[in-house]
Symmetry: C2
Subunit: 600 residues, 2 copies
């Protein structure tokens, strides 16, 4: 268990809703405290005392009141008005029971470039704060007018020399500017009054807009937050780790989900940080990620997929001895079918030498456990609703299917499962990617974005070191509106073959409904690549798609939709091709739509 | 009528869907031709010949095939492969019946910085194209590796000196770099082979990302497109005006709506351009915008608003002589009530000296006419569904209400209508703003963005020169997801008062349900502004909100919701305050939600 030694906080600004929504969500996700964002308080019908009581009831401390803007380095009359304003806020903080106020470096046209004046005025503010039992945490905004690096804010704090004045460090403000973290090591931990954590994608844009719209929770972006947190921890900083994330999506999303995602991010960050040094950051009860031995199976829910699977050359192995689950197999590809009206991927069976440790890890990362009535092996639910069943590689679990496999045949050349492609809900895309990586020990692969017929799609894949578990996650780059003839939340399973053209031929002979690819695609292929004519002809004949990367080549084809959103793919990777043929996705999407239109 | 003299085109990439969706939408909106974006063709099940036939059936010419990338300034072996690739595309173009190919300046690592080589290779391509009856339009991408200004692309085209090689000018590539348009004037019109038009907001971000995600139709962004188009027209360019807009929203939106919006933008741009000079750009049948005399009335649909309006001090005037429409009045504020289950703003009655010309203008801007069974005066429907009724300022229309006004009283101090606030659908926000501006002759006011409890809101207002017609448009900055307790598409009417505190008092006495504002708001007001204690106390007592700008002060208060999304506001502008109190919107939103929560 975590002791209270590492406090985990969240700023109310991270979460959507009014203060009551936000506090309930933060408490529900297990946060210890909050930063109260001033606007949340101003619009609340609760008095500060009522907010204090509500937080106490929820087990939340109020660790920061923020932000106080444009205080320092101003002419005397402006400073007098600022002190008056601060005094009113001290009144509020006293009623709230909040003992630390965030002061951001000035962006005011009234401010002058004068460190001595800034230090002097911050000293005066800190003196008044001290009289009220309040501390001032001074933060350099990345876009501060004169003070915009933490090194500069530290020089001013040191110059001011007041015990009630310290620093607030915010990973975004430090890392967005590309500031090194070496300077953190010379700051005494006791002078860091507060620590705010946020990740972000690397964007080449105005830093203020980047900060206000595109921050992410740790692990969702491109910043090296574990190095940053490690450096802060090394100073002896013992205050809260507090998430402060401004994000357009989170501002609109269910705060209960967002808060759980936030907590998971923080746990994963602590683990990564502890691995680099500071033992204090270790998360109790979080086993290391066990190595994976690939997909034991994929569970498909469907009313009756016998015809589809048989046409792909799968062989029916039998029914589970105690549950209505049916095993189909071809090569090392195993599909467990569970009857359901909705055709979708129900669960991923992940082979691992220590299923119980793997499941404990996933649960510590806030994945709910699935009932052992449904699975013999320990199982959890990923945030996108897909089950993850951890089972031994030796396949003990297959013993539950009778009769056991008599003689597996590979009628259509399928040898195993290459990857599974899932569609993450828009609000949780980054977090679901993080969950799969953290729970299964996968590494992120480069993200791609492509223009599909009905909008942009972001695709992010991850794989384990042995490339035995690959998961591709897709999401619309913009939440879809009403006009969206695209398939909603498509999923697919990609099987491997050593000869996809032969597999396509064999499947077509078995009556499989494979997707026809338009001739224009092959004309374009002929223009782009100098493929041998015979090869191009066979790709065209069997509607096999083609891609190439710096390693090798990729051949693949698709089935029609099964149900409203499920399909299958067969892929052949030649010479270590590392991608997923994403460039061909728009062709596939248009062909799926064309098929629907002509059959509706 | 437009003659064919100014051809108006649209690139298929502007529109969502597959090629069949796009072509039908372009034709339906009245475009004369299209640019075929290669990816749209590649994923289409139609052969190029079938696409040609389909376009002919729809009355569309195919004026450009695009884009051909990374051709020029490369080593001989790469160039040979590029010519081979181009040859394949010429085959496609021949079947399509497209005679112009867009070649973008290279971004390839294979390219070298050598204008002579670029010219030589473009000359070779043009020679081959000429043999096929094809022209090459060379375009400088703003992010081209070596060629990224139109001045540079023109030097290369001039150097190449081939009659089948000319320029493609794209307003985004020119204006995003801040290039002046003077250089356009030295290009002979006959050497401009194609003209692409796109607007964009001013964003401080990577130009490639800016271009790929944030382009807008003319008039929706910050570029001076009429100056640009005027400069191009002055060269004698006689080719199509073609819209090429990459936009994340349009990629997902109903292409039928998008195409209509696109056409409207182009008409408005032509009008603005013609006003600056080139008569050729004039849009036939588009009367100039008549001056407005303010709001004649606002039509409200509601089941029975008598209680609400009476409590605000409105007086019932009477029923329309032939329709079930009821007039209520207070001061110069007139509300026409039409019975409907849904409470919303049905129409805006705009006073103008020439209602018929105003309506003709709106219809020429693609607004459908409303039936004269519903309105005595000419009326149209704005793209957001709100009616606009053009009527004479003298109030002839009021004669239809019997009995005529006997003795108007101003029981609660309301003197008129200050503004109407509408919520534009997400997909059409920029276009709806453009429509109101163009149809009513309004000027855009600065756009604001603010963090509301349930997500960011963008607010854009516009007003006529006399500030008699003000319309505020709001939209969520990100399309809302499932978790959105915010009021969907709120609307409100803001009335003016010369003393809002007195108005609030009088209305409360009449039993009006006014919105209570939390005490925290007034504590914050006290911290931010040095208001006299008595004044602050009366604001607090009557839940009146306060704002201030460089001109003056703003006092305002709100009613509760009437129906699911309608409310009223009363405002007082002191000393020329120009805004709308947007800073107070989050307080109002939280209070509206609080009220709903406590009454659900």
């Amino acid at each position: 268990m975590d002791g209270p030694e590492v406090r985990m906080d969240i700023a109310t600004v991270c979460l959507s809703g009014t203060l009551d929504d936000k506090l309930a969500a933060a408490s529900g996700a297990g946060f210890h405290g909050v930063e109260i964002f001033e606007n949340d308080l101003v619009v609340s019908p609760w008095t500060p005392r009522e907010i204090r009581r509500r937080c106490a009831d929820l087990g939340l401390s109020i660790d920061l009141y923020q932000p106080f803007r444009d205080l320092e380095a101003v002419p005397p009359d402006v400073f007098a008005a600022n002190l008056r304003r601060a005094g009113r806020k001290f009144d509020v903080m006293e009623q709230l029971g909040a003992d630390t106020m965030l002061v951001c470096s000035s962006v005011s046209p009234d401010a002058v470039d004068d460190d001595d004046l800034a230090a002097e005025q911050l000293h005066e503010l800190a003196s008044r704060a001290a009289g009220r039992g309040i501390r001032i945490a001074y933060e350099a905004l990345a876009w501060g007018r004169f003070v915009n690096t933490y090194e500069h804010s530290w020089r001013i704090v040191r110059k001011a020399g007041h015990p009630s004045l310290g620093l607030c460090l915010d990973s975004f403000h430090v890392l967005s500017r590309g500031s090194g973290i070496t300077g953190i090591k010379v700051i005494p931990g006791a002078k860091i009054f507060f620590l705010q954590l946020a990740d972000a994608p690397r964007l080449r844009m105005d830093v203020l807009q980047w900060s206000r719209h595109h921050r992410l929770f740790p692990g969702q972006g491109a910043f090296d937050l574990s190095a940053f947190l490690g450096a802060v921890a090394a100073t002896g900083y013992a205050g809260p780790l507090s998430l402060e994330v401004f994000n357009d999506v989170f501002r609109q999303s269910d705060p209960v989900h967002t808060a759980v995602d936030a907590m998971r991010s923080l746990l994963v960050l602590r683990e990564a940080t502890a691995r680099r040094g500071p033992e204090r950051m270790r998360v109790a009860g979080l086993p290391v990620v066990p190595p994976s031995d690939g997909y034991a199976f994929v569970e498909l829910t469907a009313p009756d997929p016998a015809e589809v699977l048989a046409a792909l050359g799968f062989v029916y192995i039998g029914q589970h001895e105690s549950r209505p689950a049916h095993l189909w197999q071809q090569g090392d590809a195993r599909i467990v079918v569970r009857s359901d009206a909705d055709v979708r991927i129900g669960a991923l069976g992940v082979a691992t030498p220590d299923p119980h440790a793997a499941a404990r890890r996933a649960k510590r990362l806030l994945a709910p456990a699935l009932s052992d009535l449904d699975y013999d092996d320990p199982a959890v639910r990923a945030p996108d609703g897909v089950g993850i069943v951890f089972c031994r590689p030796e396949g003990d679990w297959m013993a539950d299917f009778t009769p056991p496999d008599p003689a597996l045949v590979t009628t259509c050349g399928i040898t195993g499962i290459d990857h599974v492609s899932l569609t993450a809900p828009f609000d949780d895309f980054d977090q679901i990617a993080l969950f799969y990586r953290a729970a299964l020990g996968l590494e992120a692969e480069p993200e791609t974005e492509f223009a599909a017929p009905f909008g942009l799609i972001r695709s992010r894949s991850s794989a384990d070191a042995g490339r035995r578990i690959r998961i591709a996650l897709n999401v619309a780059a913009l939440r879809r509106g009403d006009w969206a003839p695209a398939v909603r939340e498509p999923q697919h399973i990609a099987f491997t073959s050593d000869d996809v053209v032969a597999s396509a031929k064999a499947m077509r002979e078995l009556g499989a409904r494979l997707l026809d690819i338009p001739g224009n695609y092959y004309d374009d292929l002929a223009a782009r690549f100098d493929l041998p004519a015979g090869r191009l002809a066979s790709l065209r004949e069997y509607s096999v798609l083609y891609d190439r990367d710096e390693h090798g080549e990729f051949l693949h084809f698709y089935t029609h939709m099964v149900g409203s959103r499920m399909f299958f793919e067969v892929v052949q990777r030649i010479d270590g091709y590392a991608g997923y043929g994403v460039a061909n996705s728009p062709v596939r999407m248009a062909a799926h739509r064309q098929f629907r239109l002509s059959h509706e």
